[in-house]
């Protein structure tokens, strides 16, 4: 019966450990659930994103002691980019005390959680992804597509291409092909591209790539046959590097390829190296080790051996984006504390208010150490995006370099599309817009 005694011993250790942990004094903690994917075909891009978020949380705890004394806690949950696992992680983590905000890191999971968060009263931050119509804050109270959506991204790309051609009217008769990931993420920009195609008279061709995008031979043979003037790449994970390799194999000039801001990071081009030279992509943020916040992370987190990932990942494009996302979440908590009580743990509703009333001007960004990384951002009840500017960067074989000025998405086109899309969503769900008084809550 020795094995029986061993089992008994292990069981008593397990029980006593759980008792000890629950008896620890209740310090004030704001909890950040981190839905991430470190396995699967999207992991190469998901890992730096998740590491950036964790490192920033560790930085705030180590350098500032939390937000006004409230420590930041977090727990990662593996979703593998799958909607059902994302929903399961959400259900598991949503009832933790002090839960602040969810960043699903996936458009598919965002669609599912958008249905659930109004009941559970936890905001969703979907920076640069998710539902494009959710920038309308009066229809989508709990969604925050900060800094851009797929419609603004597509719009900025078309504007940039038009500028390069010498004017948007020069696009008439040209052929633009969208090679997209066959999922809600990849299909999002299509309505806006169709609208722009109508306006400027270019021929829009759409080539879907079956998820996860490892097999693109037929897609790129189609591209070679039709010889478009420009290819827009809407991919994620291994689809991006595969697309660049296939483009090289079929001989499509990479400098005519423009990727979304999720298709323009180091994991996408490193394997292809010189073969991706000239490839352009949208840049929501800068990269590099120079910004002060990145240096602080190196100093307070990595040099102390607390870094989440490898040191050479710090400062990469997606890592920095993760840092930005976490910074915006924490600034929302800070803003909420200004109204609802400094030094207290904020509820989901309070954090939502904070997120709706962000006012990060250049001075504040400089103080946070983000000067040069992103543009100033300010949200409001009606505008949950805050800022719709982006640049285009080009891979020169070794690093990313900016090849355009900041471009802002054209509100004239977007505003009516967002409004009618939001109205349709509300009508389908039999919901109504928020009354103006609700903006004060």
């Amino acid at each position: 019966m020795r094995s029986g005694k061993l089992v008994l011993a292990l069981a008593t250790i397990a029980m006593s450990a759980s008792v000890v942990t629950s008896a620890v004094a209740q310090t004030k903690e704001q909890f950040f659930p981190l839905l991430s994917y470190r396995t699967g075909p999207y992991a190469p891009n998901g890992v730096p994103w998740a590491n950036g978020k964790q490192d920033y949380l560790k930085l705030i705890n180590a350098r500032d002691g939390g937000v006004n004394g409230v420590k930041m806690t977090y727990e990662e949950c593996e979703t593998g980019y799958a909607t059902d696992r994302g929903v399961e992680c959400y259900e598991r983590l949503k009832s933790r005390p002090g839960v602040a905000v969810f960043d699903p890191q996936a458009t598919g999971i965002t669609f599912a959680l958008t249905e659930k968060v109004p009941t559970d009263k936890i905001p969703l931050i979907t920076l640069g992804y998710g539902l494009s119509v959710s920038q309308d804050g009066q229809a989508f109270k709990w969604n925050f597509p900060l800094m851009g959506s797929y419609w603004t991204g597509a719009d900025i790309l078309i504007q940039h291409i038009g500028k390069k051609e010498g004017g948007l009217d020069k696009l008439k008769g040209k052929k633009i092909t969208l090679v997209y990931h066959d999922s809600p993420f990849g299909k999002e920009p299509i309505p806006l591209l169709q609208e722009r195609a109508k306006m400027h008279g270019f021929d829009l061709q759409m080539i879907p790539v079956t998820a996860p995008g490892v097999d693109q031979k037929s897609a790129w043979l189609q591209v070679r046959q039709s010889r478009p003037d420009f290819v827009l790449l809407w991919g994620w994970g291994v689809m991006n590097s595969t697309a660049l390799k296939e483009a090289q194999a079929t001989g499509y000039p990479r400098d005519k390829m423009y990727g979304v801001w999720w298709a323009g990071a180091e994991p996408d081009v490193k394997d292809v190296g010189e073969g991706a030279k000239g490839y352009n992509a949208l840049a929501l943020n800068t990269s590099g080790k120079e910004p002060k916040v990145i240096q602080d992370i190196m100093k307070y987190v990595h040099d102390k051996g607390q870094g989440t990932g490898p040191k050479d990942e710090v400062g990469q494009v997606l890592y920095t984006r993760g840092v930005i996302i976490q910074m915006l979440s924490i600034e929302a908590v800070r803003r909420a504390q200004e109204r609802f009580g400094k030094g207290k743990v904020m509820t989901g509703e309070q954090v939502r208010w904070g997120m709706e009333n962000l006012a990060l001007d250049q001075k504040r960004l400089d103080a946070l150490g983000f000067s040069g990384i992103m543009r100033p951002l300010s949200t409001s009840c009606a505008d949950h995006m805050g800022s719709s500017w982006a640049r285009v960067q080009t891979w020169d074989g070794k690093k990313w370099a900016f090849s355009s000025d900041f471009i802002q998405a054209d509100d004239q086109i977007l505003k009516p599309m967002v409004k009618s899309g939001a109205d349709k969503y509300l009508a389908d769900k039999k919901m109504t817009r928020r009354p103006p008084a609700d903006c004060q809550s």
């Binding site: 669609f111 809600p184 299909k187």
Partner: protein, 358 residues
């Protein structure tokens, strides 16, 4: 001692043909139903419902369907995800396109559409067996993946391809809270489970088992293979289709075609293999195992690894889950091909003699 049938004499055929002829069994099932319908809604937390109980109930329904096809009729099918998808999307279309359509008829009609799809893709079973049939049903899986991605009609022309349902209600009662969702799924599971059990006990079930054991001999004694195989596909696809509708409407709420990928097909097959081929009870065991294991591993593995001073990341837990599944399937197929259900029935056999060893 407790499980003896002494004194329980059956005086008519009806008593002898009960699903649970032994009184102790009937008491146990009555207690189980009381716990499932009354105690669990009162005691379980919201998280337990949404993350464990609801997926368990829906997956056991789906595993039941797969077991009828794979376990009772011996037709290997890797297309169960496709049947779930067809059930879900047809229920969605019927629910959304026909104004005022109630929920349960929509789910049942979705199941019937899955039946038609299942019979169509079950036709290869009349010509091929075993591995070749598995490949033919895998074709159903890929076809369904393509169909719901590319044919916009099925997703009501949603530009993103993602669909969602809301404001569900049954007889005026809203199905919003976790308890109401759980009870709806449990009721459907009970009704369909009893129907399935009676089917496999009846003539048609014996025809399926004859086809499974030796289809040539079955044809010789007068069992029509086409009828038996296609009816197995039909019944199985109906059950899996209803389960798919429930999975989409009740558990996910909003879904895209990737929710019913080949991963789902393999999961269902694993449930049936681990739980026990050819046993209704086995579907429940398998579903419980597959639903609960990832969550248990997620909670338990980091703690367990911490005892040894090893830090395990979320990726590590995910990989461990796959390794454990693979290892267990191999182990079960070698050591106990009839799965957990056989262990359970062996336990019951020993219990009938307890405290005597033989």
């Amino acid at each position: 001692m407790f499980y003896r049938e002494n004194g329980q004499f059956k005086t008519n055929y009806r008593d002898d043909q009960q699903i649970f002829p032994i009184l102790q069994d009937r008491i146990a099932i009555g207690l189980l139903l009381a716990v499932a319908f009354v105690a669990v809604p009162m005691l379980a937390s919201d998280y337990l419902f949404r993350a464990i109980l609801i997926p368990f109930v829906i997956m056991s329904l789906a595993a039941l369907g797969v077991n009828i096809l794979v376990g009772y009729c011996g037709q290997i099918s890797l297309g169960s995800g496709a049947f779930m998808a067809v059930g879900a999307y047809s229920a969605y279309n019927i629910f959304e396109r026909i104004p005022g359509m109630p929920l349960i008829p929509a789910l049942i009609l979705g199941g019937l559409c899955a039946t038609a799809f299942g019979i169509l893709f079950g036709l290869p079973s009349l010509r091929v067996k075993g591995l070749y049939l598995a490949v033919a049903t895998l074709a159903a899986q890929f076809f369904s993946d393509w169909m719901f991605l590319r044919i916009k009609w099925f997703t009501l022309d949603a530009p993103s391809g993602s669909v969602s349902v809301s404001n569900l209600q049954v007889f005026g009662l809203p199905i919003e809270s976790a308890v109401s969702r759980y009870l709806l799924c449990l009721t459907l599971l009970l009704v369909i489970g009893v129907m399935a059990k009676n089917l496999v006990r009846g003539a048609i079930g014996r025809e399926w088992m004859a086809i499974r054991d030796m289809d040539v001999a079955a044809a010789v004694i007068g069992i029509r293979p086409m009828y038996a195989k296609l009816s197995a596909f039909a019944v199985s696809s109906f059950i899996i289709g209803v389960a798919g509708g429930l999975w989409a409407f009740i558990y996910l709420g909003a879904w895209e075609p990737a929710a019913f990928s080949s991963d789902q097909s393999f999961r269902l097959l694993f449930m049936v293999i681990i739980g026990g081929l050819g046993s209704i009870m086995g579907s429940f065991f398998g579903a419980a195992f597959i639903v609960v294991l990832p969550i248990a591993l997620n909670q338990f593995l980091p703690f367990f690894a911490g005892l040894f001073g090893v830090e395990i990341s979320t990726a590590g837990v995910s990989h461990a889950e796959l390794m454990i599944f693979g290892g267990l399937i191999v182990w079960f197929l070698i050591v106990e091909p009839h799965g957990l259900a056989k262990l359970w029935s062996m336990g019951k056999q020993k219990l009938r003699l307890w405290p005597f060893p033989h």
